[in-house]
Symmetry: C2
Subunit: 301 residues, 2 copies
C-alpha cells in the first residue's frame, strides 16, 4: 500500500502549504531535543502563525502536563498556549472522562507529575507517581504490599523512577481489582530524554506491566487516534487539511495516516533517512525533510 515518500521541495512544499490549515507537531525530536531547542524552530513557527496556520503540539511524552509543557515552550522563548498542547498525560485523563470513570474510584499512576496534574484537573482521584519514587522492597518473608481495592485504573507512562514497589502495586491493582483498566499513555521504545542520548521510553514501563499481568493496555497516545476527536472539536478543521509533522514513523506518521492527515517526517529526531528507505519499513510519510526550519527556507524560495 505504501508509496515512497518525497523529499520536501519548493514545488511540493507550496502544494502542501496551500492545502493545509493546521500543522500538528510532535515535540521531542521536532521542536526540541531534551531541553535544547532545535535550530530555526522559533522563526518557523512564527512564519506559520503569520500566514494564518493553526498550530497544535501533540506529544506522547506524559511526564509533563499541558501547563508544564506551556512553561517549557516559554522557557525556550516560544509562546504557545495551553490550549494548543495535546499531551498523552491529558489524553489519559480525557479517556477516563470519556469512559465515565466512577467518581468513587481511584487511579494508580506509574509515571510523572504531569499525569497526576491532568487527572486532578479532570476531577479524578489519583495517587502514585513521584510519591512512590523512593519506596523500596526488602523481600523478607513478611513483606506484603497492600493495595487499594478502589483503584479502577492504572495509568502507565514514562517513569525514570520506576521501581519494584510501583511494579508490584500496579500489577496487584490490575490482577486483583475486578474490571481495573490498564491504560498506557504511549508505547515509545526510547526517546531523547536528554540531548546526549536516547533512554527507555514509556514502552519499557508499559511492557513491564504487560509482562507481570499478561494483559495488554489501552493506548491513548500516538499512534492511537483517541486524541483526534478532541482536536477536531477544538480546531474545527477537517483531517485532510491537517498535516502531522513528526520524527517517528511508528507513532507520529502512523497517527497522521490513521487519522487521514497529510504527513511530514523530519530527520531531526530518532529516524534516519536510511531507516525511512529501508525495505523493511512499511510506513511512508507523504514528505520528509531534515528539520522543520526547512519550511522557513522553502517559504522564502
Amino acid at each position: 500500500m505504501s508509496t515512497s515518500s518525497q523529499p520536501l521541495s519548493p514545488s511540493n512544499f507550496r502544494d502542501l502549504f496551500d492545502s493545509v490549515e493546521a500543522f500538528l507537531f510532535d515535540c521531542d525530536g521536532v521542536i526540541w531535543k531534551g531541553d535544547e531547542l532545535i535550530q530555526g524552530v522559533s522563526q518557523t513557527l512564527q512564519m506559520l502563525r503569520s500566514k494564518g496556520k493553526k498550530l497544535v503540539f501533540v506529544t506522547n511524552n506524559s511526564w509533563k502536563s499541558r501547563s508544564q509543557y506551556a512553561q517549557k515552550f516559554q522557557s525556550l522563548g516560544i509562546s504557545v498556549s495551553q490550549d494548543e498542547i495535546f499531551s498523552s498525560s491529558f489524553a489519559a485523563a480525557m479517556y477516563l472522562k470519556a469512559k465515565d470513570f466512577p467518581s468513587q474510584n481511584k487511579v494508580y499512576v506509574i509515571g510523572g507529575e504531569g499525569i497526576l496534574e491532568e487527572l486532578r484537573l479532570a476531577d479524578i482521584t489519583a495517587f502514585g507517581g513521584p510519591e512512590d519514587a523512593n519506596k523500596t522492597i526488602d523481600l523478607k518473608q513478611n513483606c506484603f504490599v497492600e493495595h487499594d481495592k478502589s483503584v479502577g485504573a492504572v495509568v502507565v507512562g514514562i517513569d525514570p523512577n520506576i521501581n519494584y514497589y510501583k511494579l508490584q502495586y500496579g500489577t496487584l491493582c490490575i490482577r486483583e481489582n475486578p474490571g481495573c483498566l490498564f491504560i498506557a499513555t504511549n508505547r515509545d521504545a526510547v526517546g531523547h530524554m536528554t540531548a546526549l542520548q536516547e533512554w527507555p521510553g514509556a514502552g519499557c514501563m508499559v511492557a513491564a506491566i504487560c509482562g507481570s499481568t499478561q494483559k495488554e493496555p489501552v493506548v491513548v497516545g500516538k499512534p492511537s487516534t483517541f486524541m483526534m476527536e478532541f482536536l477536531l472539536k477544538k480546531f474545527n478543521v477537517s483531517c485532510s487539511k491537517m498535516c502531522m509533522v513528526g520524527d517517528r514513523l511508528d507513532t507520529d506518521i502512523l497517527f497522521g495516516q490513521n487519522a487521514g492527515c497529510k504527513t511530514l517526517l523530519v530527520l531531526s529526531g530518532v529516524t534516519t533517512q536510511s531507516a525511512l528507505q529501508d525495505p523493511s519499513n512499511n510506513i511512508q510519510p507523504d514528505y520528509y525533510t531534515n528539520t522543520i526550519s526547512d519550511m522557513l527556507d522553502l517559504s522564502r524560495a
Copy 2:
C-alpha cells in the same frame, strides 16, 4: 491435541511410580513458598530416594546460584547436592558456554548475585546486578550513561532492584553493541517471592527490555528445553522415564511436555484446579494433585 488430566489416584500413581526413574521438581510452589517449606515435602523426598528414584530440582528462579539453592535446601532441613540442582542462572552460563562466548567479551546482568556467581564459575566476566542496585538517574541535560562496548550479552532475570540505570545500560548494550545477545533466564509473569503474596517475576524485567529494545530474547529456563541436554548427560535417564512435577502450566508442564517427559501438576502453587480445567487452558498435564506429599500417602496405600 490435549486430553484432560487425571487426578492422581492409587492406581495411576502405581503406574507412574513404576515407570519413572527420575522426578524433576520445580521448587517455588512445589517444594517451598518463599522461605517456607510446603508440608510433607521432606518425608516425600526421603521416600522417593529410599525407593531408588533420582531427584532433580529445576528452578526458573535465577536469583540464586546452585550452591545458594543447596544452602537454602539445607536451611529447610533437606539435604540436596548442588549437582541435583538446575537453576536458570546456571542455564544462562551454560548457554553462553555452548555458544563459545568469546573470552574477551563481558556480560551485563540485570538480576541477582546467583547469575553473576554462575557466570564466574563458567569463567565468564560479568558485571551489573546487585552492584547497580542503588544507581540513580537525574535526567539533566548533561546526563549520559556510558556503556562498555565489549559487552557481548545481556542476561535478564528477576530483579527486585530494577531501576532506570539498569534498564538504560542493558538497552544501550543490546541496541548499540553489534551482535550483543539478549538472554532471558525465564519469563515467569509472577512468583511467590514471599509467602504472603505473588510479585512480578523475571517476565516483567524481560518484557521491559523487550519494550525498550524492540527485540525478543533467547529464553534458557523453562519451558525452553535447553537445560535438558545437561540433565540427560548427567543422569543418563531417557526423557520418557522422567516425570516433571511443577505448579505452572506454561513453564513446568510445557517444559516437561516439550521434552517428552511425563507431567504432574501440583496445586500448591500458582495454578488452581479451576484454571487447569478452564476451557481456555490448552496445557494439560498427565496428572494433577494437591501437593507432592500426596505421593507419600499414595505410596503407603
